[in-house]
């Protein structure tokens, strides 16, 4: 028989098979040991015929394999349909519900709750805002200068020219100040995104909490006192806090708070790189430009803002050396937290 006609007939047979058994039958007929094709292959003398017949063999094998997985999926579905249950029944009539030991909250959530509680206690409101943010709210209204590296697509995930995955929770400052008149005391908590390669200490997604206080007569001393209170709530009453000058576009003056090392108590150890202090976030007095951007008079209103990482705080509290387990969800990790 001519190869082409043979191939056509075999393909039709594969397609026509409605069960796995029928398909096996057809396979034996067209690809089996004593099939016409195999016999022909054995008698091949010239290279060209050999290549042509082998091409047919390969095409048929692929077609049979494809049909087989189709039929398998269909038979699985048919079998599954016979396992149909009345989904409106209560769970206990639908099968076993095992009695399980209590599960665990993730350390990120444990820290989030402590942050919420500490600030609720100070009379703050807690908010969550959108993560897909406009360049206007993420950078412009927060007074990021044009040269700031965070604006670059090297450091930030752009969705389009005007839209980014927020790089910090700070756009919440703008959102709340546009929503309501001061005084404002709020903490915004949520996911933020940085275009970092994945390393043991960095993951492109993490959680921040951002605090903002806008009122009359707010001072840097108030910022220091507030962060001292919160650090002690998170890490223990014996902790101390110090501040270092830093730079952030949306605060002036800007400072980085350090918390005294919990491992060595401040005398120096590998965890704190022998300094006795551990970097914990960023903070500062709200830049007058940011207040002006939301229509507030910087002569009347002032305030402070700060931002810290939840995972970083959890790492410090539980002494977890890398960020990796926070996103791996190995239950042997999560179950350690209560």
């Amino acid at each position: 028989m001519e190869a082409e006609a043979l191939q056509k007939e075999a393909l039709a047979a594969a397609e026509a098979a409605q069960t796995l058994a029928q398909l096996d039958e057809a396979r034996v007929q067209y690809l089996g040991r004593s099939s016409e094709l195999k016999l022909a292959l054995r008698e091949v003398r010239d290279r060209e015929t050999g290549m042509a017949l082998n091409a047919v063999r390969e095409a048929l094998e692929a077609a049979f394999a494809a049909r087989q997985s189709e039929l398998e999926r269909a038979e699985l579905s048919a079998r599954l349909t016979t396992e149909r249950v009345d989904v409106t029944l209560p769970a206990e009539l639908l099968g076993d519900v095992r009695v399980r030991p209590r599960g665990s909250l993730h350390p990120t959530t444990l820290i989030r709750r402590d942050v919420e509680d500490a600030f609720i206690g100070l009379g703050y409101e807690i908010r969550e805002d959108r993560e897909i943010e406009t360049v206007e709210y993420n950078f412009d209204k927060l007074a990021f200068p044009a040269w700031h590296p965070a604006r670059s697509s090297r450091d930030t995930f752009y969705v389009d020219a005007d839209t980014v995955l927020r790089t910090e929770t700070s756009p919440s400052q703008i959102h709340i100040l546009e929503e309501k008149p001061p005084p404002v005391y709020m903490v915004s908590i949520g996911r933020v995104y940085r275009r970092d390669a994945i390393t043991p200490t960095r993951f492109p997604i993490f959680h921040q909490f951002e605090g903002l206080a806008i009122d009359r007569g707010i001072t840097m001393a108030d910022l220091k006192g507030t962060l001292l209170h919160v650090m002690r709530a998170l890490f223990g009453e014996e902790r101390e806090v110090r501040f270092r000058t830093h730079y952030f576009p949306f605060t002036e003056p800007s400072m980085e708070p350090d918390v005294s090392c919990g491992v060595c108590g401040g005398s120096g150890c590998p965890t704190c790189k022998w300094s006795g202090w551990i970097e914990i976030g960023g903070s500062g007095m709200v830049d007058p430009q940011v207040l002006a951007n939301v229509g507030l008079d910087p002569g009347e209103w002032g305030g402070f803002a700060f931002g810290l990482g939840l995972e970083r705080a959890a790492q410090l509290r539980y002494d977890i050396p890398t960020i990796r387990p926070f996103w791996e969800n190995d239950l042997r990790f999560v179950r350690q937290f209560r």
């Binding site: 409106t88 399980r100 665990s104 040269w147 752009y158 492109p204 000058t245 791996e328 969800n329």
Partner: protein, 750 residues
């Protein structure tokens, strides 16, 4: 920025040691990553030596046997492998007993039968350079036996500091010295560099086409240049600062950049067409092969240095290969310019080309620095490359004038929450370069970009007072903190699931595919924002099974991103054990939220076709076996929808003093009729006295027949007026049986 301390101390007189300088800098100005120490721990056995005699080692062709005067009565015999010196040379010697920086301790020992009492040092052995082709030959006239540390920078301490983006002035040793002087009230010496006399009268042609991109260009011509290796002190300084030594000319440009903060470039003057420089934007289709050997396609926005014909450098970023200084160069054109930051940033970003130069330009370099930088470089080129300086040009546009900013001292105190006397404020500002004038403070040119307002002056004061500021809390007129309803529900859902034995997961919101795609992801796996949490949880479950973790029950609460502008919170879960396990958890969530959901049969490609249900807020089902090996239950609900539907308050109802009467009813009914439909019919028919009803059994068997099953209901009747009897409820039972029979063909079982 790596700052060698001996270099810093050339510009500022302070007593403080490295650790104190680092501490003070890190509080007031810049992060200090490390304090590094280079060189041997003990330098007492390192001395200057004079070679009295040197000849071939009797037993080794490649070694020399030297007699070296090391200031002791008798010369030391030292075996040496280098041949770049002879008798009379002054050399660096480590005597027997000395420990090299690499930890090796030298011992007095025989080498091929001859005693060797120490080592004549090459620069790499004491970490002054990379050269190991010969030993260090010192200047004549040094006293044999005198400490080597007096002759070469044997020991160095290096501060590795990380200034913030606004403090480009600290990306220079002199800038750091200025800060240190302010911190410790030390004396700041004048900027280094004095112009040697110009030697000759040659015209240097500089033309700036784009004064916005390049407000200033100082070009200086040097002739009779001898390209050579740099002297040891220069090589050591660059090495300590983390810059590779190339040749005297290139090293001078790098040294001046590190010293003052103004990047420089040197062109081979003879290779500049027409001997002139034109600063302009690139032309369409123009290309340039940069020093790193890469051919770069330029765009119109790129600022270029060109000669009469073609591009010769990417302004501020990297020079071109064709005009690079080489061993045969004898004339150079030195560029000390000023470039506008944003353009440099854009070009370096687009070309993915970051250099020490671009890193400074993109932050904004003081335009008044080009002059002093040219001067220091000129002095060094004349001294180190034997060059003469026959011509120069200084082309500039309008350079910004330093502004004067008023400061209200009481405003400073309001912001700080600390009283700082006006005189003290003025003193702090004066020390960091601000000059008191009638109208306020004149900003130094190197701070013109980041100090423009009163608040910026206040920050200057604040950063020197940080530790003095007390800890207080805002004095508030009102307190109003509490969790929102949604936030409370989130906690309830978390606690319910944990109580059911589920543990919490956090999975990436970036997934391989989703409705919102990132044009520049860091990897294909993190290419889009997810529409649903389930696939991430399937992966988490798979990963746990891969390490044989048992009893897997995971949930997550996070945003989903179905479309732009909408980011609903979802709660999703996965559990080993099937549909019943997942539905149990969903039932507990609904119960906690005070919602009675309506379950309907659902069909989703990732779910078991016979075990999937939908509610108004989401779905619950058994995972399709093709998704994950084993039997898994899963669910995903819209938490925002759940919160919207949740009962706000509980309405109290009086409890009856009389017991309820409970009765069971079982029906044989077609498989097609769902328990929920029957339940609704029972409720409707049962009337007011039917207080509660639930399904408590499902049965299939010989008695029910093919295609049918038995469903058993437990009914609870009650009244607030009296105890009900069987007779009271008999008509209700009959009505219920009748209704269910009529609607579903259900037959009451005996």
């Amino acid at each position: 920025m790596r700052v060698p301390l001996s270099w810093l101390r050339e510009y500022v007189r302070v007593e403080a040691d490295a650790a104190r300088i680092a501490d003070a800098l890190s509080i007031s100005a810049a992060e200090v990553n490390t304090i590094e120490r280079r060189g041997p721990a003990d330098t007492s056995l390192y001395v200057v030596g004079r070679v009295l005699g040197a000849g071939k080692h009797p037993n080794a062709d490649r070694l020399q046997l030297c007699q070296v005067d090391v200031g002791e009565g008798k010369p030391a015999q030292i075996v040496c492998g280098a041949w770049n010196f002879s008798a009379g040379a002054t050399v660096a010697v480590a005597k027997a007993g000395a420990t090299l920086p690499n930890g090796l301790t030298l011992e007095r020992r025989e080498l091929r039968g001859e005693m060797s009492e120490g080592m004549i040092l090459a620069e790499d052995e004491i970490e002054l350079g990379a050269d190991h082709t010969g030993i260090i030959v010192l200047a004549d006239g040094l006293e044999p036996g005198s400490p080597l540390a007096n002759a070469v920078p044997l020991v160095e301490e290096i501060l590795d500091i990380d200034p913030t983006g606004n403090r480009v002035d600290l990306l220079s040793v002199y800038g750091c010295a200025r800060e240190v002087a302010a911190l410790f009230d030390g004396e700041l010496l004048p900027m280094p560099g004095t112009d040697p006399a110009q030697d000759g009268e040659e015209k240097v042609e500089i033309e700036i086409d784009d004064l916005d991109g390049c407000p200033r260009y100082v070009g200086r011509l040097f002739r009779d240049v001898t390209i050579a290796e740099s002297p040891l002190w220069l090589k050591a300084r660059l090495r300590d600062a983390g810059v590779r030594s190339i040749s005297n000319v290139v090293d001078v440009t790098n040294y001046v950049m590190l010293a003052l903060g103004n990047p420089l470039h040197a062109f081979d003057y003879d290779r500049l067409e027409g001997g002139r420089i034109v600063v302009r934007r690139a032309r369409k289709g123009e290309e340039l092969r940069t020093l790193d050997g890469t051919q770069r396609a330029l765009e119109k926005s790129d600022l270029l240095i060109a000669d009469a014909k073609r591009a010769v450098a990417l302004a501020g970023i990297m020079g071109g290969e064709e005009t690079e200084v080489s061993d045969t160069t004898t004339a150079i054109l030195l560029e000390a310019a000023n470039f506008e930051p944003v353009g440099i940033l854009r070009s370096s970003e687009r070309l993915a080309l970051r250099t020490e130069g671009s890193n400074r330009w993109e932050k904004g370099v003081d335009p008044y620095l080009a002059g002093p930088a040219a001067t220091l470089a000129t002095q060094l080129l004349v001294e180190l490359a034997g060059a003469r300086w026959p011509g120069a040009a200084d082309v500039q546009g309008e350079l910004p004038q330093p502004s004067v900013i008023p400061l209200r001292p009481e405003r400073t105190n309001e912001v700080l929450g600390l009283d700082v006397a006006p005189e003290r404020q003025e003193e702090i500002l004066r020390r960091v370069g601000f000059e008191r004038e009638k109208a306020g403070f004149r900003v130094p040119t190197w701070r013109a970009r980041d100090v423009t307002r009163e608040i910026d002056l206040i920050e200057e004061v604040a950063r020197f007072q940080l530790s003095e500021i007390p800890f207080t809390l805002p004095r508030r007129e009102a307190m109003f903190g509490r969790l929102t309803r949604w936030q409370r529900l989130r906690r309830v859902v978390e606690d319910v699931l944990v109580g059911c034995g589920w543990s919490e997961a956090y999975t990436p919101s970036l997934v391989p595919a989703g409705p919102i795609v990132l044009p520049e992801p860091i990897s294909a796996e993190l290419g889009a924002m997810r529409e649903t949490l389930l696939p991430s949880l399937v992966e988490a479950a798979r990963a746990n099974r891969a390490v044989d973790v048992e009893n897997v029950a995971l949930f997550e609460i996070a945003h989903a991103y179905p479309e732009r502008g909408r980011e609903p919170w979802h709660v999703a879960g996965i559990v080993d054990g099937g549909f019943a396990e997942a539905k149990w958890a969903v039932e507990q969530i609904y119960a906690a939220a005070g919602i009675e959901p309506a379950y309907e049969r659902a069909s989703e490609p990732f779910l078991h076709p016979g075990k999937a249900a939908r509610t108004a807020e989401g779905w619950v089902g058994e995972l399709h076996p093709a998704e994950l090996e084993g039997t898994w239950g899963a669910f995903e609900l819209d938490l925002d929808a759940l919160a919207a539907a949740a009962g706000e308050t509980v309405r109290f109802e009086e409890v009856s003093p009389y017991p309820e009467l409970r009765q069971d009813l079982a029906f044989v009914v077609d498989e097609d009729a769902s328990a929920a439909e029957l339940l609704a019919a029972v409720r409707a028919a049962g009337g007011e006295l039917l207080r509660g009803v639930e399904v408590f059994d499902e049965y299939r068997g010989a008695q029910t027949g093919e295609g049918k099953r038995s469903l058993a209901f437990r009914l609870a009747f009650g009244s607030t007026e009296r105890t009900l009897t069987d007779e009271d409820v008999a008509p209700l039972r009959a009505a219920i049986a009748d209704a269910v029979g009529k609607q579903f063909g259900a037959v009451l079982r005996a």
